[in-house]
C-alpha cells in the first residue's frame, strides 16, 4: 500500500494517480491541504474528462507517479 499523499507538497507538473485509476497532472496548488487543481491525462472510468482541468479532492489521490 502506498503512503498517504501530502497534498501540500504537490507542485505543478507532478502526476498523481487517483483512486479510480485516473492519472492527472497538477496545475496549481492552493495549499489548503484539501484540493489541488489538476488536468486529467487518462481516466479508465470516464474518458470524457481527459484534457479537462478539475479540482481533485485529497482523499481521491492514491499515489504520485513518475512523470
Amino acid at each position: 500500500m502506498s503512503e498517504l499523499v501530502n497534498t501540500r507538497l504537490l507542485t505543478p507538473g507532478t502526476r498523481i494517480v487517483l483512486v479510480d485509476g485516473a492519472v492527472a497532472e497538477v496545475v496549481s496548488n492552493p495549499q489548503d491541504g484539501v484540493w489541488v487543481f489538476a488536468r486529467y491525462l487518462s481516466s479508465p472510468t470516464d474518458p470524457s474528462v481527459v484534457g479537462s482541468e478539475e479540482m481533485i479532492f485529497a482523499q481521491d489521490i492514491a499515489d504520485i507517479t513518475a512523470s
Binding site: 496549481s28 492552493p30 489548503d32 491541504g33 484539501v34 484540493w35 487543481f37 479540482m55 479532492f57 485529497a58 482523499q59
Partner: protein, 462 residues
Amino acid sequence: MATAGRGYRPGLVDLDRGRISREIFVSDEIYAEEQERLFARAWLFVGHESQIPNPGDFFVSGMGEESVILCRDRAGQIHVFLNSCRHRGMKVCRYDEGNTPVFTCPYHGWSYASDGKLVGVPYFREAYHSTLDRAQWGLVEVAQLCNYKGSIWANWDKAAPSFEEYLGDFAHYLDLTVNSWDGGDGGIEILGGIQKWLIPCNWKFPAENFCGDSYHNISHRSVDLAGIGPSGSGRRDMQERIMARRLQVSLYERGHQTGIYVMPQGEPTPPAYAHSPVVSEYFRHCEEERRRRHGEWGRVIGSPGEVFPNIALHPRQPRTIAVWHPRGAHQTECWRWYFVDKAAPPEVKDFLRDYYIRYSGPGGMTEQDDMENWNYAHAASRGVIARRHPYSYEQGQGYETANYEWQGLRIPGTVMDITEAKSSEHNLRNLYRRWAEFMEAPSWDQLATWRRAGAGIVQAAE
C-alpha cells in the same frame, strides 16, 4: 424610567428629559435585539481597498457578530462574504489576511472561489450523484457593497439606501478622513496592520466617546502633561483651538456626528509636527493645497466623529478609523485601522507610525485612558441597583443651531457651537436618537425619514 430585565421598549432613551437608561448598555436582551435591528440593517465599515490590492487578496473582517471575508476575485472585483461554509457553517477562512485562489472549509472540504462560487464538493459525483446544484450554495454575499474613496462599506439589507444616501451631508466630514490630506485624488493607504483587542464593556461606550465627546478630556490630563504630541506638548497639535470656532455637528436623520474646527476666513492652518521639519513641511504644503482645492471648506479641520452605528473616525493626529465590534452585551472587540497619504514620503509615514501607536490602540497612551473609563463605567452599571438609575445627557440641550454659518461658511447638519461652552452632549444625544429609531423601526421604509415629510420615529427633543 424603566427597570431591569426586559428587552428594548420606548422610553429607555428619553431625550426630552436628557436621560438614558443603563439598560441599553447592560441588558443581554437588548444586545440580542441590536444584532437584528442595527447590525443587520446599517452600513458597516469592513476595510480599505489598499488591504486587498491584488486578485485573490483577502482580509477577514467583521460586521456586528458576523465574521466576513473582504476579498478581490480573479477579475479584480471586490466582494464581502459571510465567513461560514454553506454546508455546516465552519469558517472557510481562519487567517487574518493573505492571498488564495480558493477558500476551503476544513470540516468537510467544500471549497469556494474568490468570487464566492462553490467550486469544490468532495465526492460530488459519487455521494451527491452529481445532482447538488452548486450554483445555489455559494458563499453568502452582503446585499450591498460600496467602495467609497477606497474605504469599503457593506450592508446585509437590500432595502437599505445606498451608502451615499445613508451618509447624506456627512460625506463632507467622512472625506476629512478618507481623502488624501491635500484634498486631491492621491488617496490614502493602511499603515501597518490592524490593531485588535478586547475590552469588557458594551460597544456603545466607545461609540459615544468618539461622537465628539470632549467632556472627558480631563481623563487625558496625564497624557497632555507627558507631552506625547508631535510638537512636544499636549497629545496633539491643537493651535487652531485658540482662533477657530469649535463645533459639534449632528446629522439628525442619519445618526452620524462629529466635532470640527472652523478657521477664521483668511487665516492659515497653524503649523504642526514641529518635531520633524520634513513632516511639518509636508503638512504645510498639503494644507495650502487643500485650501486651494476646496476654497472656504478648506477652513474646516476634522476632529473625532462617528458614522452610525459603530465606526469611529479620527481624521487627524492620529488619522484612524476604529470599529467597535459587539461581542456580547459586556464585551467589545476593538479594531483600529491607521491611515497615511499614499503619496506621503517614507519619512512622513515613519514619523506618523511612531506617533500613532504612541497615541492609539491597546498600548496607546490616550486610548488606555479611555478604555479604563469604559471598562469601569460598564462594570459599575450592571448591578440591579445601578440599573435603576439613568445616565444624564442634558448638557447643552436647547442650544443647537439648524443653519449654522460663520464668516461665510455654511456648516451642514445641526450644530452646537462649543467655542465658549467648552462642551456639549449634543452629538451623544444624536447617536442615541438614531439608535432608538433603529430599535423601533420595522424596516427602512420608516428609517429613511428624509424621504418623507415630517419627523422621525422618535421625536427629536431638541
